[in-house]
């Protein structure tokens, strides 16, 4: 069964990460590299993607002529997708265990859009839709 492990971030999350103490930042990056490599070696990794900072994100609507209109304003409280792993594992429990492992990455708590301080990383686990398997 396939799952997407999703990392979210506040809009200025990337700026906050860049201001982490250098040692913490390096430890975080090393952790993520090892984590992804181990997933690959376990034969459980399908794909992983890291996205550029949400500060460069655009909201696009279709204009009357079908051309892109990009004057959208994001709501202040919005969480942005920072990146994800897609994994293929034997059980839902295994997906949760991998997510917990990812969430243990070293880092400094970050400020959320509402001003509160939150863990720098939490992982949203979502099952990927598949084709039916029906042996009835």
């Amino acid at each position: 069964m396939k799952y997407m492990l999703i990392m979210n971030t506040p809009k200025d999350g990337y700026t906050q990460y860049m201001n982490w103490p250098r040692k913490v930042l390096e430890a975080n990056m090393a952790f993520m590299r090892t984590f992804t490599r181990k997933l690959g070696e376990a034969g459980e990794l399908v794909d992983t993607v890291g996205l550029a900072s949400p500060q460069q994100a655009k909201l696009v609507r279709a204009g009357k002529d079908g051309k892109p209109v990009t004057d959208g304003v994001f709501p202040e409280s919005k969480e942005f997708l920072a990146g994800y792993w897609i994994i293929d594992v034997e059980s839902p429990e295994r997906a949760l265990a991998i997510a917990a492992e990812a969430a243990a990455a070293p880092g400094v708590p970050v400020k959320a859009a509402d001003g509160s301080t939150i863990d720098h990383l939490w992982i949203e686990v979502r099952e990927v839709m598949n084709s039916v398997q029906d042996m009835k």
Partner: protein, 413 residues
């Protein structure tokens, strides 16, 4: 194994020969992991050369020779890397000895021994599936990756992990002894069953390109049956696969939508597969040993033998699900039993059988209980409640075709 010219006969020949060649090579050089890599390379070389240059007179001998040369080359380069260890020439494995005639050391049991090894209970099922398809099925890593919609490197890792487990658990290359052969065979059949069900998916869009895993599972199960013709579980599994696969064309519509059993165009069912499956399961049941696969196959046979849905022998289906519940205690068997009971005794009887399942932990996050309840409520004339539950089930399922089917049911009427 797909040759560039797409020569189907060569592909089939290579895949039949793959486990035989591997058996010879493993017995000669005793290193399963290295042999398996070497045979894979030999198969790829043949896929490249044979369509252009013609199939050699002794294709098996050709493959054995190429594979043994690869193993020898690998060992030689390992040795030269360790040359300071002053390795004596007699450490070279038997692989270097010239290959004799083609048929001399073929053991018909090799495929079976390999299956026992690839499906060893110490492996995860994902690893066992990948290794089985490559070592016994003769598929390439790329083909397996495509079939499971994961990257090639992921399948490669699963295969090399499987080989490491085999190496560290020191599974000998021989038939398991009588004491453990029942358990070991049941792991083999389970892996074949998983390969079959992975392939038995609704085909839509890009998935039409998927390697035919169901067909491969049937081919491998046929091989096992040839070697163990008396075994009723093997016959039962093969029958189950044939009787299920026989409905393949009828179970999806032109846009990949799911068509349930009672709405299928039965003229599209594959008659020859049904006849073969029915004969197999009847013979297996007559032997008196009634396992899970035989009962599931018998249920499939009852459905397949009904020319129209209203001809289905539901009392028999109901009785067979009762047997399956006793054998497996599976919640899915209970759900299907409730459906059959509803057909025999009316929807309220079916709904009563669902009540104890409400508290079954195994169905807690599943959409299936809601879907079956919706179906039975609809038949009981409680359309409004049924629509509500169809929607609940649609929101819970992780299968796209099934979600669309459930939403269609919610919208009907």
């Amino acid at each position: 194994m797909t040759s560039p010219g797409g020569d189907h006969r060569i592909d089939l020949l290579l895949r039949d020969l793959a486990p035989q060649v591997l058996g010879v090579v493993v017995r000669r050089c005793r290193d399963f992991a290295a042999s398996e890599d070497a045979v894979q390379e030999a198969l790829i070389a043949a896929t490249d050369q044979w369509p252009r240059e013609g199939v050699p007179e002794h294709p098996r001998g050709w493959l054995v020779r190429v594979a043994l040369r690869r193993v020898t080359d690998t060992v030689r380069s390992d040795i030269s890397r360790r040359k300071r260890e002053a390795v004596a020439a007699d450490e070279l494995p038997l692989a270097i000895a010239p290959v004799m005639s083609d048929e001399s050391d073929i053991d018909p049991n090799d495929s079976l021994v390999l299956l026992f090894m690839c499906c060893h209970p110490s492996l995860t099922s994902a690893s066992a599936i990948a290794l089985t398809l490559r070592a016994v099925g003769g598929l390439t890593t790329a083909e397996i990756a495509k079939a499971f919609l994961v990257p090639e490197s992921t399948i490669g890792q699963r295969i090399s992990r499987a080989k490491q487990s085999i190496k560290s658990s020191a599974v000998p290359f021989q038939m398991p002894d009588a004491g453990e052969s029942v358990d070991r065979l049941s792991s083999v059949l389970h892996v074949l069953y998983l390969i079959f069900s992975e392939g038995y998916t609704a085909s839509s869009g890009a998935e039409l390109q998927r390697t035919d895993l169901s067909g491969e599972a049937i081919r491998l199960t046929r091989q096992v049956r040839r070697l163990l013709p008396e075994n009723p579980d093997v016959a039962g599994l093969l029958a189950l696969m044939l009787l299920t696969d026989a409905r393949r064309l009828a179970r999806t519509g032109p846009n990949g939508e799911l068509i349930p059993l009672d709405e299928q165009d039965r003229s599209l069912w594959h008659r020859r597969a049904i006849e073969e499956g029915v004969a197999l399961v009847s013979e297996a049941l007559a032997r008196g040993s009634v396992g899970e696969y035989q009962v599931q196959a018998a249920i499939a046979a009852v459905h397949d033998e009904a020319a129209r849905v209203e001809d289905t022998d539901w009392p028999q289906v109901q009785a067979l699900y009762e047997m399956l519940i006793r054998l497996t205690d599976s919640p899915l068997a209970r759900l299907n039993h409730a459906i059959a009971a509803a057909m025999v005794e009316g929807p309220l009887a079916g709904l009563r059988l669902l009540e104890p399942l409400e508290s079954d932990e195994r169905l807690r996050n599943s959409h299936r209980l809601d879907a079956v309840r919706a179906h039975l409520l609809e038949r009981a004339g409680q359309r409004e409640k049924a629509v509500e539950l169809y929607r609940v089930a649609a929101a819970k399922t992780t299968s796209l075709p099934e979600r669309n089917y459930l939403l269609r049911k919610a919208g009907d009427g």
